[in-house]
């Protein structure tokens, strides 16, 4: 398995771990009555901003740990080589990401139009961003293995 594939697999699991973990914490706070996510929309903004910060920091830490473990396991320091094929793979994966995210937003708007609660659109934002990220990493693994 190439370094890029391993990195993508780590990204998939870290994305799931961070997102689900953060969602559980926020939902617990909502249940405890610290804030009401069904009506307090400014709280959603704060939740998003904190999530971005937490996600970036957690990913950096996970990436460093992955790199150290990979170096110990393989006995050599592997680094990502960016070449034309790698760039094409990333480009196609990004395209798929945008398709998935756009579909998520479209579904959220449709849900809003048919009378779903407004906070549903924020949930749709988070879910579609997580799914699109999984599709990004999944696409990269697929194109790496099957060809581009």
């Amino acid at each position: 398995m190439s370094y890029e594939e391993k990195e993508n697999i780590v990204n998939i699991f870290s994305s799931l771990f961070i997102s689900i973990g953060y969602a559980i914490i926020i939902y617990q706070k909502h249940l405890q009555g610290q804030f009401d996510l069904t009506t307090d929309f400014s709280t959603w903004g704060i939740i998003f901003l904190i999530f971005m910060g937490v996600s970036i920091v957690a990913r950096i830490i996970i990436y460093i740990i992955f790199h150290i473990i990979n170096t110990i396991a393989t006995g050599k320091e592997e680094k990502e080589v960016s070449d034309e094929r790698g760039k094409l793979i990333k480009l196609k994966a990004t395209r798929n990401t945008y398709y998935a995210f756009s579909a998520g937003i479209m579904l959220a708007i449709i849900a809003l139009a048919i009378g779903m609660p407004v906070y549903g659109i924020f949930i749709a934002f988070i879910v579609s961003s997580v799914i699109s990220e999984l599709i990004d990493n999944g696409s990269q693994i697929y194109y790496n293995r099957k060809g581009v």
Binding site: V81, R85, G147
Partner: protein
């Protein structure tokens, strides 16, 4: 993913060049080993620049490294 209709003889050329490894070739032309693997398997058609670089490494004409069979090219008009 459909196989490329561009065939290549990189494996044979590497063998003739003192059994050059994929990693050595990759380092010479500045790509990853996975890219060499993909080109050899026909899973990736390299750019013209990369194709010329490969030919240059083996000191051989481009046509000897890559060959095109129009019969297999279903995308041609």
């Amino acid at each position: 993913m459909a196989k490329s209709f561009i065939q290549n003889s990189i494996r044979r050329l590497r063998f003739n060049a003192d059994e050059m490894t994929q990693q050595q070739l990759a380092d010479e032309i500045g790509v990853s080993r996975q890219t060499i693997v993909a080109i050899e398997k026909g899973n990736y058609s390299p750019s013209l620049v990369l194709a010329f670089r490969i030919a240059h490494i083996f000191n051989t004409p481009l046509e000897e490294v890559f060959s095109y069979d129009p019969e297999d090219d279903i995308s041609k008009i």
